[in-house]
């Protein structure tokens, strides 16, 4: 039994042996240690490794899909196999890679350390999350080994295509089962993150001193709690329709197929932000650190994140404009409004770089690549919020290109996160030269594979087709897209090679990047309960304040020259939120 003890008072000189018994974790070793660990860093690392494996699996599916589309009458895979491939490509990437990588992997490791907590609030629940996620992934992928093949109704599983008549077989049930498991895993992680952020912050770490990454994870966790139960309920309904003879989504029994879309997208659109916000947070931290500046417009950044979270619950039906049965103006307006906080974020990122001292490490290059790619994906997203333009482009490659710009931006940011925080987790840097090579392959590959898809979409190529015999003129653009996908694939190979090449080669020390937030105050890797000591926390950059006491943020009025401005609106809101607290204190 280990008591979770917050670190001793801040001291300048630290006797590292001063609190023995907490830094070393006595107990099982080897695989049993891995299986029984409740340390958030071990669980987070398991999450990270598993989700990167999923990224590679999903990427392999993508390469096969692109190879099939390289000719108008592709014969690499059959029509049935093609349906399985793109279904599982989407499912693996959305359910098994992007989310778990962000809120299970990096967030699990970084958030507790960023706020000065000794562990997650519910360590055993955290471990359970990982096992549910791992078993859910295995369950979903097991579909390939059943007689009927894996699920083949697209990652959105629209009823009635997903009912037992149109999609019989175990693959679809395994898909549902796998999603139930990973869904619960996500819910538990959401609970854990919220409780950790609300209850385990270090003294002085007020809400408005939390790093942006932690803020984004808090909003993500709340969105998880709002959205995932809806998906779980929907999946249970779908299962009942398939096996217990209910008719929730089938017209024949008086059900409504569109209800599935409402339920699915009520989860699905917040899910987009559940995927995106953590990566926004990673990019924010990276850009600030490698510009040697505080996050520009910290408070407006927080409110932008909160507004994205708030609006995200009211935009789901923009995926359903062409059903003809949704309230177009409401969803159009809400979806367009999301562009405003997103725009604020983009300008804040550029503001952070402005007049900074930019250090183009691999992590920074990845973050900048994220910014540019996300800008393209965001701008094309604005078109899709307008129903007439959505009628025009819905279910064509334009949409495919749009969300691949977005998710590839997230992959870039995630890779940046690995290069940035990897040293903190492992104690060793990755090779920068390989990192740069990987970045250029990934960045250029992304643009080369998405850009032709925009044109193909405008030219009328529908998504999810395995061949295009009537339109052989699409071959050239498809070939370019395939070429881009190959470049992205090479970048992943470079990454794996880099990990192997740099294995325990470049010890990094506590703070290799001169970074700002609390996780860089402790050792790399951090001890069992994360900290031997904590600095006084007087801003959102305690480590920076400690290392550069003469260079605190101007907003805090303790250094530098010239005037500083604070936004009165944001300040008024923060003031109102904190007002009562001051009275109590």
């Amino acid at each position: 039994m280990v008591d979770l003890i917050t670190p001793p008072p801040a001291i300048i000189d630290v006797d590292h042996d001063g609190d023995e018994g907490h830094d070393e974790h006595h107990g099982a070793t080897g695989i049993l240690k891995w299986m029984t660990s409740t340390d958030h860093k071990v669980i987070g690392l398991s999450y990270t490794v598993t989700s990167v494996v999923m990224l590679i699996i999903g990427g392999l599916f993508a390469e096969i899909i692109r190879a099939q589309l390289a000719s108008p009458n592709g014969t690499l895979v059959s029509l049935a196999q093609y349906n399985e491939l793109f279904t599982m490509h989407g499912s693996v990437m959305i359910y098994l890679f992007a989310g778990p990588f962000a809120f299970g992997g990096l967030a699990n490791i970084i958030v507790p350390i960023q706020i000065g907590a000794p562990d997650m609030a519910f360590p055993r629940l955290n471990a359970l999350s990982y096992w549910l996620y791992l078993m859910g992934s295995i369950t979903m992928l097991m579909g390939f080994f059943t007689a009927g093949g894996a699920a083949n109704f697209g990652w959105v599983a629209y009823a009635p295509l997903s009912n037992s008549i149109n999609t019989p077989g175990a693959g679809a049930d395994l898909w549902i089962g796998g999603l139930l498991l990973t869904g619960f895993s996500a819910i538990f992680t959401g609970v854990n993150l919220t409780a950790t952020i609300f209850y385990l912050r270090a003294p002085g770490m007020t809400m408005f001193r939390m790093p942006i990454f932690t803020w984004n994870m808090l909003v993500t966790a709340i969105l998880i709690l709002l959205a995932f139960p809806v998906l779980t309920a929907g999946l249970i309904m779908l299962y009942c329709d398939r096996h217990f003879g209910t008719h929730i989504f089938s017209v024949a029994g008086g059900g409504v197929p569109v209800l599935w879309q409402h339920i699915f997208w009520f989860w699905g659109h917040p899910e987009v932000y559940i995927l995106a916000l953590p990566f926004f947070g990673m990019a924010t931290e990276i850009i600030a650190v490698f510009s040697k500046k505080p996050v520009f417009g910290y408070k407006s950044m927080v409110f932008a994140t909160l507004s994205i979270g708030a609006l995200s619950l009211g935009v789901w039906a923009h995926h359903m404009f062409t059903t003809g049965v949704v309230l177009l103006p409401f969803f159009s307006f809400m979806s367009l409004m999301i562009a405003v906080p997103t725009g604020i974020k983009i300008f804040n990122w550029i503001g952070t770089m402005w007049r900074g001292e930019l250090w183009f490490s691999t992590a920074m290059l990845m973050a900048l690549g994220f910014l540019f790619t996300f800008l393209i994906g965001g701008l094309t997203g604005i078109y899709l919020a307008s129903p007439p333009l959505d009628f025009f482009t819905h279910d064509t490659y334009f949409v495919v290109a749009h969300f691949h710009s977005i998710v590839m931006a997230l992959v870039l940011a995630g890779m940046g996160g690995l290069y940035f925080w990897g040293p903190k987790i492992t104690g060793y840097l990755l090779n920068e030269k390989f990192g740069r090579i990987q970045f250029w392959f990934l960045f250029i590959g992304t643009q080369v594979f998405t850009f032709p898809q925009y044109i193909l979409g405008l030219d009328g190529m529908p998504r999810r087709i395995a061949m295009y015999p009537h339109s052989p003129q699409w071959k050239t653009l498809n070939d370019w897209s395939t070429f881009g996908a190959i470049l992205v694939g090479i970048s992943m190979i470079v990454f794996v090679v880099n990990v192997g090449y740099s294995w325990k080669k470049y010890p990094c020390g506590d703070n290799p990047w001169d970074a700002q937030t609390l996780e860089w105050f402790t050792t790399s890797p951090p001890p069992h309960h994360n900290f031997y000591r904590l600095p006084q926390i007087r801003s959102e950059r305690p480590t920076w304040d400690y290392n550069h006491p003469e260079h605190r943020s101007l907003a805090h009025g303790t250094g530098g020259t010239g005037t500083h401005h604070e936004p009165p609106l944001a300040n008024a809101i923060v003031g109102a939120l904190e007002h009562d607290q001051d009275h109590d204190a």
Binding site: M1, V2, D3, L4, I5, T6, P7, A10, H25, G27, A28, T36, T38, D119, R124, L125, A127, L128, Y130, W131, L132, M135, I138, T139, A170, D173, L174, G177, L180, L181, R201, A202, P203, G204, T206, M207, R209, I222, L226, H262, I263, F266, L306, A310, L313, G314, A317, V326, L327, F330, M334, R533, L534, P535, Q536, I537, R538, L577, D584, A585
Partner: protein
């Protein structure tokens, strides 16, 4: 605590307004109900936090001038390691396989889950890992 409470209350209020507007405009039940439930999911814990925050002293993490010493002490008591999350995860896995391949998978599934629940409870009471 008060910032956390107001955060949730604010989100809940926004969802409430959105639910009312949406339902009165669109007359579509599923979305209205889900938004209403989303509102409750924010308002209920938010109100609880708010109620508590009026009755408690500011915690060190809410005090901008707190020193690290104020936070020292025992936060809680947890097993340093535990096999039961793994066991419960495997149990859930078999239960899900029962949904697909047949009811007999429930035997190992529920067995493992029961063992995990009993074991984890005992672990918590006994105070020590396996």
């Amino acid at each position: 605590m008060r910032v956390e409470a107001k955060l949730l209350l604010g989100l809940g209020a926004f969802f409430g307004v959105m639910a009312v507007v949406y339902w009165n405009w669109g007359h579509e039940n599923a979305g209205g109900v889900m938004m209403f439930a989303g509102m409750l999911l924010c308002l209920v814990p938010g109100s609880y936090y708010y109620w508590w925050s009026r009755r408690m002293k500011a915690r060190p993490e809410d005090d901008p001038n707190a020193t690290q010493g104020e936070g020292a002490g025992v936060v809680g008591s947890f097993p340093g390691s535990s096999i039961f999350p793994f066991t419960l995860g495997m149990g859930a896995f078999f239960v899900v396989l029962a949904l697909v391949f047949g009811i007999w998978f429930l035997v190992p599934g529920l067995g493992l889950a029961a063992w995990a629940l009993l074991g984890a409870t005992a672990e918590g009471r006994r105070g020590g890992h396996v």
